[in-house]
């Protein structure tokens, strides 16, 4: 790095750190929905990535609708698109839990397969009903650019919004879990299903809502991902492996673990990608993860539970 001035190196470190933080947020958002579902029901939702894509499509279609019918709102629709994406993904998730997942408790491996089937169906739905081509949301100009902090340093505005959104979702989720009746019911069901049922709480309804909320959060994440990446029927395949790994590295069912592993993976891939070319960086990323998991087979943070 001898050719560069101190300012340049400083600027790169700042920007690269910010990229790392953005990536961490992405990992956390990817894993959040999975984490909730796993924590509640002990199953892995293989169609998770499709819920992300569902959110993306909601955003794209809503944007199209707004630009065509209500051009006046063009600059603000993003704010409404987020709850809308949540709503759509929540609805679909609610139905999926009702008709599919609820029949498969205690069979986690089978749930894996069934939800994979679901993901194929959802992908084909996107393709048949929305179209095979990629879509893009018309984003308002304020969300696209960057904030030039100095001559070299550019901080992406979408990255800042992403950071805010992540914090907002995490805080919201924490508050929801501890302060609302529904959240307490969720926790109770997670800890002792029979007992909670005996106390007159409708555990089935709780499960359905939990699953819906998890999908809804994925929907929000997906809606936001359109600002950074593509939306196409098979876009989910880009997310699937990474979001599972975030969860596994963190230790299943631990929110702190999710943070730590999001940060760990982001740090690792930012460093690796800076020093080597993309594909090989990805190979090394996975190899490092495997080795780490060989040592920490339960993930970096796992709830110590009495067996």
């Amino acid at each position: 790095m001898g050719d560069y001035t101190f300012d340049e190196i400083y600027a790169i470190v700042v920007m690269q750190s910010f990229s790392g933080v953005s990536l961490m947020c992405i990992y956390i958002l990817m894993g959040l929905g999975l984490y909730i579902i796993f924590g509640q029901m002990g199953v892995i939702n293989m169609a998770h990535a499709e819920f992300l894509v569902l959110g993306s499509y909601t955003m794209c279609l809503f944007s199209k609708f707004v630009t065509e019918n209500m051009p006046a709102f063009e600059n603000y629709y993003v704010i409404f698109a987020i709850p809308l994406s949540f709503g759509v993904a929540f609805g679909v998730g609610y139905l999926v839990e009702w008709f599919l997942i609820s029949r498969l408790y205690h069979r986690p491996l089978d749930t894996l397969l069934a939800t994979w089937g679901l993901s194929l169906i959802m992908q084909q739905c996107f393709r048949s009903f929305i179209g095979a081509r990629e879509m893009s949301a018309d984003l308002p100009e304020w969300l696209l650019g960057s904030w030039a902090a100095s001559d070299i340093i550019d901080i992406p505005i979408s990255g800042l919004v992403l950071l805010l959104l992540t914090v907002f979702l995490i805080v919201g989720l924490a508050l929801f879990k501890t302060k609302t009746r529904m959240g307490l019911r969720m926790q109770a069901t997670t800890q002792n299903r029979e007992m909670t049922g005996a106390l007159g709480i409708n555990t089935k309804m709780t499960d359905r809502i939990t699953f819906g909320i998890a999908c809804g959060i994925s929907g929000i994440a997906g809606a936001f991902f359109t600002t950074m990446a593509s939306t196409s029927p098979s876009a989910g395949t880009n997310y699937i492996v990474d979001s599972f790994l975030v969860l596994v590295v963190g230790g299943l069912g631990s929110l702190v673990g999710l943070f730590v592993s999001g940060g760990f993976l982001a740090l690792l891939s930012s460093i690796l990608e800076f020093f080597m070319t993309g594909s090989i960086a990805k190979v090394w990323l996975y190899l490092v993860i495997f080795v780490v998991l060989m040592k920490f087979t339960r993930g970096l943070f796992s709830d110590k539970v009495r067996s």
């Binding site: 110590k304 539970v305 009495r306 067996s307």
Partner: protein
């Protein structure tokens, strides 16, 4: 390093904590050769955890468990079993898809490695041993029955039989008579007395009549600590024990 003892099983200063909660707290317990020890105590006293610790299912936070003066706390489950300790679970844990014969055969202490089990054959010796055990556990007529068809009590016996096939020196039973009819309990008591002649037994049990029938020594656990130790009568008469447990 604790000194060697003559005891078959010597548990000293054993502690295990889950997220700060001490399920077993500085426990010290000795079991003699040929002894039949019963552990009682209210729910949450740490009884099953003690068995988990001895059998290697749970790792101790501190303290030692020595069996024939061999330290067990760092060994893995199958090594502990091979050292001569057998364990029965609270709910009957048998292979429901296999026949009674196959259930017993799997426990036969030969060919327990991958390649050993590939080479394992049913020799006369194996068959004789299994028939012998089946006789003891009252299931000799049901060798070909699929295990899931057995009654609850028979499943309990089958699991005890699976231990016997292993021929361990120390047997640990977690509530062996739960869910049995009165008649079955009697038979079980007789069975255990017979078994106890050749080996040591640790039993966790709630049924006081049953305990009174079989126990040499009774240990009362409460909140991970030993509250009282002695014969059934001594224990029964102890006011503290009555307060925490029997009195309720």
């Amino acid at each position: 390093m604790p000194s060697n003892t003559d005891y078959l099983l010597a548990i000293e200063d054993l502690t295990v904590s889950f997220d700060g909660f001490k399920a077993v707290d500085e426990l010290t317990l000795y079991v003699d050769k040929g002894e039949l020890r019963v552990i009682i105590g209210p729910n949450g006293a740490g009884k099953t955890t003690v068995l988990d610790l001895i059998s290697g299912k749970t790792r101790a936070s501190s303290g030692s468990i020595r069996y024939n003066n061999v330290e067990l706390t760092s060994m893995r489950e199958h090594e502990i079993v091979r050292a001569g300790i057998g364990r029965k679970f609270q709910t009957p844990s048998i292979y429901e898809k296999l026949s009674v014969y196959e259930n017993l055969e799997i426990s036969y202490p030969w060919g327990r490695t991958v390649f050993g089990s590939l080479k394992f054959t049913r020799t006369k010796q194996v068959i004789d041993r299994i028939q012998d055990v089946a006789q003891q556990i009252f299931l000799s007529d049901m060798l070909e029955t699929q295990a899931e068809l057995l009654s609850h009590g028979q499943k309990q016996w089958l699991e005890i039989g699976m231990l016997l096939v292993q021929n361990p020196e120390l047997i640990m039973l977690d509530e062996p008579v739960a869910g049995m009819t009165a008649k079955e309990r009697e038979a079980t008591a007789a069975l255990l007395e017979k078994i106890a002649k050749e080996r040591s037994i640790i039993i966790i049990e709630h049924d006081m009549d049953f305990v009174a029938k079989i126990a040499d020594q009774v240990t009362v656990l409460h909140l991970g600590k030993i509250l009282k130790q002695g014969s059934m009568d001594e224990v029964r008469d102890d006011p503290v024990v009555q307060e925490v447990y029997l009195g309720h």
